[in-house]
C-alpha cells in the first residue's frame, strides 16, 4: 500500500517539477550533471526570461482579451432567445427534414454522421493521428530504448505483481461486463437515443483502462495486443471512409444509394449511421486505451 502512495507522491512531485522518490536517485545525479552546465545561471536567466516586463505584458494582454470578449458578450442575443440568429434555416432544415432524410431519431447523430459525416471522418482521423504521434514519441521499440528505464520498468512490474489488490480486482470483474455492455449499448443506440460512437467508445475505453489498471497490462495483452490495435483502428477508419465515400458519390449526385433507411426508432434503421457509429466507437475505444498504456508503459 505504501508503495502505491509512494508512486502517487512521485507522480505529484513530477507534476510539480520536482524529482523525488527512490527511482529518481539516478535521475537526480543526471540532473546535477545537467545543472553543472549552467553554474549560477539559473537565477539570472530566469529573471531574464520571465521578467516582470513579460508578466506585465501578459497581464495586460489577458485583461484586454477578457475585456473585449466581455464587451462582445453583452451584445449577444439573450440566453435561450428563440430569435437568436444562430437558429437559422440550416437548423430548420436539420430539424424538420432530418428524420425523413437520414432516418435518425437523434438529430445530432443524423447531423454529424450524415450531413456532416466528412467532418466526423476528419475527427476520427485526428484521434488516429494523435495516437500515432504519441506512439512515435513514447513507444519503446528497438530504436527507442533507454537501459535505465527498462530497469525501472521491470522494478515497477514486480511491484505491480506483489501488490495485486484483491478488492479492486473483484470489483473490476463484477463491474467490467456492465461497463462494456453499457458502452456497446450507447454505440449501437447512437441514432435513436443520446449517445453515439464517441461517448460509447469512451465508455468502452474506460472499461479497458480499468481492466489494465487493476489486473495489469499483461492480462489485457492476452486479447488486446499491438496487432489487434492496429487492425481494429485501421479497419474501422477504412470502413468509415469506404462506406461514406460510396454514399457521397451516389447520394450527392442524386443516384439511388440502395441503402434502406428503415423505420425510425428501430435498431436497424437510418442507413449508414449505425455502421459509422460502430466504426467511430471502435476507433475511440482503442485510442483511449492506447493513450493509457502508451503513457504508463510505453508499449501497447
Amino acid at each position: 500500500m505504501s508503495k502505491k502512495t509512494d508512486a502517487l507522491r512521485r507522480f505529484s512531485g513530477w507534476v510539480n517539477g520536482e524529482t523525488a522518490g527512490h527511482a529518481a536517485v539516478r535521475r537526480e545525479a543526471a540532473r546535477i550533471e545537467h545543472k553543472k552546465l549552467l553554474p549560477e545561471l539559473d537565477e539570472q536567466q530566469r529573471i531574464r526570461l520571465f521578467s516582470w516586463q513579460y508578466k506585465l505584458v501578459a497581464l495586460v494582454v489577458c485583461l484586454t482579451v477578457v475585456a473585449v470578449l466581455l464587451y462582445t458578450v453583452f451584445h449577444l442575443p439573450l440566453f435561450g432567445d428563440p430569435e437568436n440568429p444562430a437558429v437559422n434555416e440550416v437548423v430548420q432544415r436539420y430539424v424538420e427534414d432530418g428524420l425523413e432524410e437520414t432516418g435518425a431519431v437523434n438529430m445530432v447523430a443524423g447531423m454529424i454522421l450524415d450531413y456532416r459525416a466528412f467532418d466526423t471522418f476528419g475527427e476520427s482521423s485526428v484521434l488516429f493521428l494523435a495516437v500515432t504521434s504519441v506512439m512515435m514519441l513514447l513507444l519503446r521499440d528497438a530504436r527507442n530504448i533507454v537501459r535505465d528505464e527498462d530497469v525501472q520498468e521491470e522494478h515497477e512490474r514486480v511491484i505491480e505483481r506483489q501488490t495485486s489488490d484483491i478488492i479492486l480486482q473483484k470489483v473490476t470483474s463484477l463491474v467490467m461486463p456492465c461497463i462494456m455492455m453499457f458502452g456497446a449499448y450507447v454505440v449501437l443506440n447512437g441514432h435513436i437515443s443520446p449517445g453515439g460512437g464517441f461517448s460509447g467508445g469512451a465508455v468502452m475505453g474506460a472499461g479497458l483502462i480499468l481492466l489494465g489498471a487493476s489486473f495489469g497490462i499483461d492480462k489485457v495483452r492476452a486479447f488486446f495486443t499491438m496487432k489487434t490495435f492496429r487492425r481494429i483502428t485501421s479497419t474501422a477508419l477504412l470502413c468509415y471512409a469506404a462506406s461514406k465515400a460510396y454514399s457521397f458519390f451516389t447520394g450527392a449526385n442524386g443516384l439511388e444509394t440502395g441503402i434502406p433507411l428503415g423505420t425510425p426508432g428501430a435498431i436497424f434503421s437510418s442507413g449508414l449511421i449505425l455502421v459509422l457509429d460502430i466504426c467511430v466507437g471502435l476507433v475511440v475505444a482503442c485510442t483511449m486505451y492506447g493513450f493509457y498504456v502508451l503513457f504508463s508503459r510505453g508499449e501497447i
Binding site: 545561471l41 508578466k55 477578457v66 437558429v87 430539424v95 424538420e96 438529430m107 445530432v108 513514447l138
Partner: protein, 129 residues
C-alpha cells in the same frame, strides 16, 4: 443602459460571461505558469470555456432536446442541434491535442529531467552555444 437593464442582461448571459472568465483564467495560466503540465491544464480550461460558450448559445427556452418525438414535428419545438455537434468535434480535438502535448512533455522530461519551461529553455540555449 441603466443599471437594472444591465443586470438583467448580465443574469441572462451568465453562462457566456462564465465562459469568458474561464477563458481568461486559462489564458492567464497558459501565459504565466512556468510548469509545462500546468500550461496544458490551463489550455484544457480554455477549451472547456469555449465548449460552455457554444453549448449555451445552442439553448432555446422551453424547447426539448433534439431527439425526435412522436407527434412533435417542426423546428420550433427543438433546441439548436448544431452547437452539440461542434462541441463534440471540439472535445475530440482537445483530447487529441492534450495527449500529444503530454507526450511531448514526457519526452522533454526524459531529456532534461525537468518540466519547468525556463530551465528547459536555458539548457537548450546552453547546448546550442
Amino acid at each position: 443602459m441603466d443599471l437594472h437593464a444591465f443586470l438583467t442582461k448580465a443574469v441572462s448571459l451568465r453562462f457566456e460571461i462564465a465562459a469568458v472568465i474561464l477563458f481568461g483564467i486559462g489564458f492567464m495560466n497558459l501565459m504565466l505558469r512556468h510548469n509545462l503540465i500546468k500550461k496544458i491544464v490551463a489550455f484544457n480550461v480554455m477549451d472547456s470555456s469555449v465548449f460552455l460558450f457554444l453549448a449555451s448559445q445552442g439553448y432555446i427556452d422551453g424547447r426539448i432536446a433534439p431527439i425526435a418525438r412522436e407527434g412533435i414535428v417542426g423546428a420550433e419545438h427543438y433546441v439548436n442541434p448544431i452547437p452539440a455537434g461542434l462541441v463534440l468535434t471540439g472535445i475530440v480535438v482537445s483530447v487529441s491535442v492534450s495527449a500529444f502535448f503530454l507526450a511531448l512533455v514526457q519526452r522533454l522530461y526524459k531529456h532534461y529531467h525537468t518540466v519547468d519551461f525556463d530551465e528547459i529553455m536555458i539548457m537548450a540555449k546552453k547546448k546550442v552555444d
